[in-house]
Symmetry: C2
Subunit: 580 residues, 2 copies
């Protein structure tokens, strides 16, 4: 992984690929690399859809190795949704494959002069870029089928659906999973729109003939990996909760805590919760059977296996096991308690290439505007279908909650820096509110998952309803997360890492054994800090200031039942988060 | 004019009116008063459509007197379009009438609990507020007819059309002219959406029984007014150019200069220019005749009389004589060279209550997105009609150029702080580019009309194609404009003021004779500075920083024909504008 593939989509004679050495970027991976490239090479004031923006796709430092959990991938650019820097993270197979092929990053630059669509094929022999306007306005599922027919079954795809082609700010980038289905998405921030603006419909990766990357010290690496895996297995969250019920185990937990945003963040508990919980979902999946209904991972090397497959009543494949945040977005947040409808919407989101969180928040805003009643599942399905059609309504919705609020004249819009809040009400879990407000990414639960300590008691216990200690908690988590996002590791390793010092040490040993470096825990913290500092500096230059590190005013005014609580962390406290 | 009418639209038992004394606001008028109230009473981070925003409607310091040109009115709020403070300025009759009734301002506060629509009637006996949902989704023309039937012919109306009711960020507030037609608009920044969010459809003003406000020193006042009027009459712009051809006299001038933004700011000259010029327009109006085709003023007391009436081929009234910026917005900027079509769109904009500049810029962006061909007048008419219908497309377009660009995936969007640029390309007239970039209002030609010196040689001569001297010019004009906007005087008095020291002195004498004050020229400058400082501080607190004092990047990269020039004022220079 010592090279960067740069494709200039705006070259005079059509797209031009060249392979660069890592140069100054040596030692960076994942979010560390995407943010370094964006911060250095993209003018912060450029239009996100202009030729000056760049789309960076980077496997993690350990991707392509046999290290457990190392197959996550980072996508970076200036975000059309937030106007700031963006790293969106996904699972799927491309990360491991790109790692094996030796690519630390793919960088899409420039912009085609004509309105053509391209496909990129990458294998051990090099890179091939072809114009293919037959792919125009295909959904991700049909697109992947076409690529399979063309390139065989051993490939992985990185692609956009209709939403990305339309350059909508809610557009995601799909990464195929182990079953070669486009179910894993770099969802947030409109990264799919940037890929669309580059005219790239799909990047097909084939690592045939390549082997796993070799560690510097194979024995130590094997040993550390074993210890690391043992640590993951023994922690109740990564070893038991997630594998058994998937991420949707959280529905009951967060609802119980009174922090489950319901009907566009009007309430903290949803009375239809039981019908869409992880427990109900698991039971449904088990009853309906079909191959692959057992929990499984989203990428090669995953040992937590929090995913699964969702079948309809007749046993036909619908989508992957729907994640908690998606179940919430299209479920409780829209007042919908129908798992089949939610799964259907998840499938549509994946097919059109849409961020499920942004779409769920957007539909709830549209419901508040009166376009449909809360709870009307068919109306929600129809709205998402409008995006696929590219109708005017669809384009509004596909542009995300902030734009939809503007166009429909709604004042209660749960966004920070233009990005919709995920499945945790910041009044019921004050720590996550600090992360939403201050993350360089806009409202993003994964940027500093304070739910862990506020609700689960992982990494210590903090009172979710008190502002006390939340700033420090969020700061530390944001730093740690930035570092983990650089490794290519799944963020769920954080649960055992926070509780089990020996597992944290195993991870450091793993990195050192692989790279031949001699990192300490402090170095990892410094890495996280340096990534955040780079991102924040980009955002400042792009015009995002302390005033953007705020929740919408109404979270400080409207009390959330059942605790009847507002967001209580002060602006002065929020301004301390990046004080490190 | 020693009282403020405050209407709390969110009071528990329905809207509540109360009359406040001026208190701390004594001595403020027009923009000076709207910006003072907004800066002091509106939380800068509030949602512009929330109950925390306030809509302030304020006549100028001299409004209601017999001073020439004193009938302009200011509307202030936090802008749904820019996210910053807003003062939108209009002519029409309400300013003089409110002045005579003694109101320094009307302040709409709060937000109705239910989705009801109200009308407010103000006369010498007080204020009456009635729920009237029959007014729902009426255009301004029908609405005014209804009000005439109800309250008689001696009234003036302040109202919103469909756009304001839908809370679209391109919505204006209409002020009736001397013929009781809703042709004068506080257009910019979406002030109509804020009035819509307050649930107020129309404010009907009747000044029967009231007299003009008395000057402190009637003799001196009469003398100063005479001198002031003589100054206006003798200047070539206010005494000749404007009365003869109206503001549209500029079409040929700006086109000649190569600074006429054509087809969404792609070119600096429009080949259909002659067909829509002020000269052609005047000839057309004279040929078509009809009563009132002679040039006339937009408000009682106007002596420049740059307005007129536009009739169709059969002599039927269509709209007022269309202003230069509107002719440009719906003309050259959309590649349209048909005066009748442009007049028809102007009428639709006025009826729906839409900012013509924002709408023209938006339609051009939609044309760049491929929704219609440049030059297709019927398509442009149809697009505006979509707004009136409230269709999804209409809501997109009515939300302005920035949102339309986002939803349609267009990167070339000519906005600053989310507000569309008016009819002067900042590359061909670099001075106006400085004003666009740095005005507290977003892109706004009236905020510091550097065209005067760059093109007309009024107030000295500056090279329009050179960055030299533009920062100082724009700064001085922005300061002077803020002061003029506080007086209730039409901004066109600035031409003689800049060239004729004796006319400037006459204005100061006029103010002093009226108010009994003893102001100097320096005091006027200080007034302007203090207004700008207040506005800028609000914007900073709302999250608008130096990074927002910029033109979109492409103005620094794309050369504008025929001069093949880019915007050359540096960021460092722009940051000096507010350094006073």
């Amino acid at each position: 992984m010592d090279k960067i593939l740069r494709i200039n989509m705006g070259a005079d004679g059509g797209p031009e690929a060249k392979v660069d050495s890592l140069g100054d970027y040596a030692g960076f991976g994942g979010r560390g690399l995407t943010s370094a490239i964006v911060a250095k090479e993209v003018p912060p004031t450029c239009h996100p859809l202009s030729e000056d923006n760049k789309l960076v796709i980077a496997p993690g430092l350990l991707s392509g190795s046999t290290a457990a959990m190392s197959g996550r991938i980072s996508v970076g650019c200036k975000s059309p949704l937030t106007g700031g820097i963006k790293e969106a993270n996904a699972g799927g197979q491309p990360s491991q494959m790109l790692g094996r092929l030796g690519y630390a990053a793919i960088v899409l630059e420039g912009k085609p002069k004509e309105n053509n669509l391209y496909k990129v094929f990458i294998n051990k022999d090099g890179v091939d870029i072809k114009e293919d306007n037959n792919l125009c306005m295909l959904g991700n599922y049909d697109l992947v089928d076409k690529m399979k027919a063309e390139y065989g079954e051993k490939i992985a795809c990185i692609s956009i659906g209709q939403a990305g082609e339309m350059k909508l700010a809610g557009a995601s980038i799909a990464f195929t999973d182990m079953e070669l289905r486009p179910t894993r998405h770099a969802g947030r921030g409109g990264v799919g729109a940037v890929m669309g603006s580059k005219g790239v419909k799909v990047i097909v990766v084939d690592d045939a003939g390549m082997k796993a990357r070799s560690p510097a010290d194979p024995d130590k690496f094997r040993e550390a990996n074993k210890e690391f895996v043992a640590g993951l297995k023994k922690h109740p969250v990564s070893g038991e909760g997630l594998p058994t019920y998937g991420t949707n185990v959280l529905t009951n937990v967060i609802n119980e805590a009174g922090a489950y945003p319901t009907k566009n963040f009007q309430l903290g508990q949803f009375d239809g919760c039981e019908k869409i919980s992880g427990e109900t979902q698991a039971e449904t999946e088990n009853t309906r059977g079909g191959e692959g209904s057992a929990t499984h991972g989203c990428h090669r090397g995953c040992i937590i296996r929090c995913s699964g497959t969702f079948y309809d009543k007749d046993g036909n494949y619908v989508t992957k096991q729907v994640e908690y945040e998606t179940v919430w977005a299209h479920g409780g947040n829209c007042g919908i308690d129908d798992l089949d409808a939610i799964a259907q919407i998840d499938r549509l989101d994946d097919d059109y290439g849409l961020d499920t969180i942004e779409m769920g928040a957007t539909i709830a805003v549209a419901m508040e505007a009166g376009l449909a009643e809360f709870g009307d599942a068919q109306a929600a399905i129809n709205m998402v279908k409008e995006v696929g059609k590219g109708s005017h309504l669809g384009r509004i919705l596909g542009s995300g909650a902030a734009v939809t609020g503007k166009v429909l004249g709604v004042a209660r819009v749960p966004v920070v820096k233009g990005q919709a809040m995920p499945a945790y009400d910041p009044r019921g879990i004050q720590g996550i509110g600090v992360t939403y407000a201050t993350s360089t990414m806009g409202a993003d639960h994964t940027a500093g998952y304070a739910v862990s300590s506020n609700i689960m008691g992982v990494g210590g216990k903090t009172d979710p309803l008190s502002p006390e200690g939340q700033v420090e908690l969020s700061r530390n988590l944001q730093i740690a997360t930035a570092a983990v996002d650089a490794t290519g590791m799944c963020l769920f390793i954080a649960f055992p890492l926070l509780d089990q010092p020996e597992t944290f040490q195993a991870l450091i040993d793993l990195i050192n054994a692989f790279s031949g470096a001699n990192l300490t825990a402090d170095d990892v913290t410094e890495l996280g800090k340096s990534i955040l500092k780079k991102e924040r500096e980009f955002n400042l230059q792009a015009g995002l200031t302390a005033q953007h590190d705020r929740l919408p005013d109404y979270f400080q005014k409207e009390q959330l039942p059942p605790h009847n609580i507002t967001f209580k962390v002060t602006n002065e406290e929020l301004d301390q988060v990046h004080n490190f």
